[in-house]
C-alpha cells in the first residue's frame, strides 16, 4: 500500500514487531516504519476491539497507538524509531504500569 520515496538510502534500523525482527529506516517514526512494512493495523480499539492503524500521522487521531518498550498507548507517529526498539500491537485498553 505504501512505497518509500526514491530518497538516498538511509541507515537501516533494526527493531522488533510483536517479537519478530524487522527493519525500518533512520528518520522513520514508529508509525511510518509499520506502514512501510505493510503493517497497517497496529492496534485493536479499547471499546469494540476493531482493528485500527495510523491515520493522521501528526499526533491528533490516536489511532496509531502501540506498545513501545513495554509502555502502552504510545502514539507511534510521534515516536522516532530507534535501534533495538520493541514495538507491540496495542490490544484494547492499556494496562496501568504497562
Amino acid at each position: 500500500m505504501f512505497r518509500r520515496l526514491p530518497d538516498p538510502p538511509a541507515r537501516r534500523i533494526a527493531f522488533t514487531l510483536d517479537g519478530v525482527a524487522v527493519e525500518g529506516m533512520d528518520g522513520d517514526s514508529v508509525a511510518a516504519a509499520l506502514l512501510a512494512l505493510g503493517h497497517t493495523a497496529c492496534r485493536e480499539t479499547a471499546v469494540s476491539g476493531a482493528p485500527r492503524g495510523p491515520y493522521c500521522m501528526m499526533g491528533v487521531c490516536f489511532d496509531c497507538l502501540v506498545v513501545i518498550d513495554g509502555i502502552g498507548n504510545r502514539q507511534g507517529c510521534l515516536v522516532p524509531l530507534t535501534e533495538g526498539m520493541a514495538v507491540e500491537t496495542q490490544h484494547g485498553r492499556r494496562e496501568v504500569g504497562r
Binding site: 479499547a46 471499546v47 490516536f62 498507548n73 485498553r93 492499556r94 494496562e95 496501568v96 504500569g97
Partner: protein
Amino acid sequence: MANATIFDAAVIGGGVVGAAVACGLLGAGLSTCILDEGDVAHRASRGNFALIWVQSKGLGMARYGSWTRASADAWADFAADLRAETGIDVAHQRPGGFSLCLSEEELEKRRGALTRMHNQPGWIPYDWEVLDRPALMREFPDLGPEVVGGLYCPLDGHVNSLRLFRALHAAFKARGGAYFPERPVTSIAPLSAGGFRIETPKGAIEAGKLVLAAGIANARLAPMVGLVAPVRPQRGQILVTEKTAPFLRHPVITVRQTDEGGVMIGDSAEEAGLDERIGLGVLSVMADRAMRMFPRIAALNVVRTWAALRVMSQDGFPIYDRSESAPGAFIATCHSGVTLAAAHERLLAPMIARGALDADMAPFSARRFDVPQAA
C-alpha cells in the same frame, strides 16, 4: 410565520433536564416539543462528571436529600427502560461511592457535614459510613499513603452521561416528540385563553403548558411568565485520561473510571461567569489530588480537559415551581441533571402533566429566596 404550530406542552431547553422532562410529558400522553439552542449552547449536559450521587446532597434542605434518593432509587428501571426503548446502554452502575480524604481535617469536615445533614428534622435516614484507612485498603489495595480515611454510601453510582443524553433524545423522538434546534426563545406571551405563544427567530410555537428547562437562560426566561430563577453559572473543570484496564470499581466523588476505561478527574468549582476556559492551576491541583489517592494514575496520559458551567441557585438546591400568574408555566432547574434525570422523567413530568406540583415539592419553590435582607 403567521400560524404557530400548537402542542400540549413545550419544553424550553434540550439538555438532560429538558429532555428528561419532555420524555416524561410524552409518556403522560401530551404532545410535546423541545425548543433548543444549537451547538453554541453552554450545554452542561455535555460536560458533566456523570455521577449519580446521593451521599452529600441535602444539608440545608432535607427534601433535596429525599428527592435525590428517590431519583437514584428509580435509576435502575429508568436505565433499563431507556435501553429497551432505544437500544442504548447508558452503563448505569450503583456499586456505592466513596469520598476520600487526604488529611484528618478534611475527614473531620466531611464527617461533620454529613452528621449535621442526617440529623436534620424530616430527614429520611439511609446508610452511610466513615471508613478508616485499613477499611479503605480492603476496597482499594493500592491506595495512596496520604489517604487517611473516607466516607462510603451504598446508594451512590454513576453512568455514561453522553450516552444518557443521546438516549433521552432517541426516546423523545421514538415517543413522537418534536425537536426544534436553533430556536433560542426571544419572548413568551401567556394567551388570554390559556397557554403560551413562544417566539423564536425561526418562528413561533403555541403550547398549553410550558416548562422552562434552559439552564442558565432560565434566569432570563422566568420573568416572562411570572417566575423567578436566580441561577448563575459555576465553572467546573474535568480531566480524562486514556482508556485503561479496569482498576476502580467504585466511583469516588472526584475520581471515577468510566465504563469505557478512561479515568475522569473532576469536582472543581469556580465563580467565573460564562467563561468556559480551563486553567492549568485548577487542573494541576485536581490531578495532584487524584494521584495522591491512586498513585497508579500518575502513569496515565491525560487525553482531554474541559470546563463546563453548572447551573447554580443561591443555595445550590434545585428550583421547581409553577407560575401563579400563568399557571401552565413550570420551571425546572438544577445542577444535578444526571442524578435527577430519573426523577424528572418519572416523578416531575407527571406532576406537570397533571397541572400542579405535589405539596411535598413546596421546599423547591423559588419563593424560598423571598426573604428580606436583615438590616
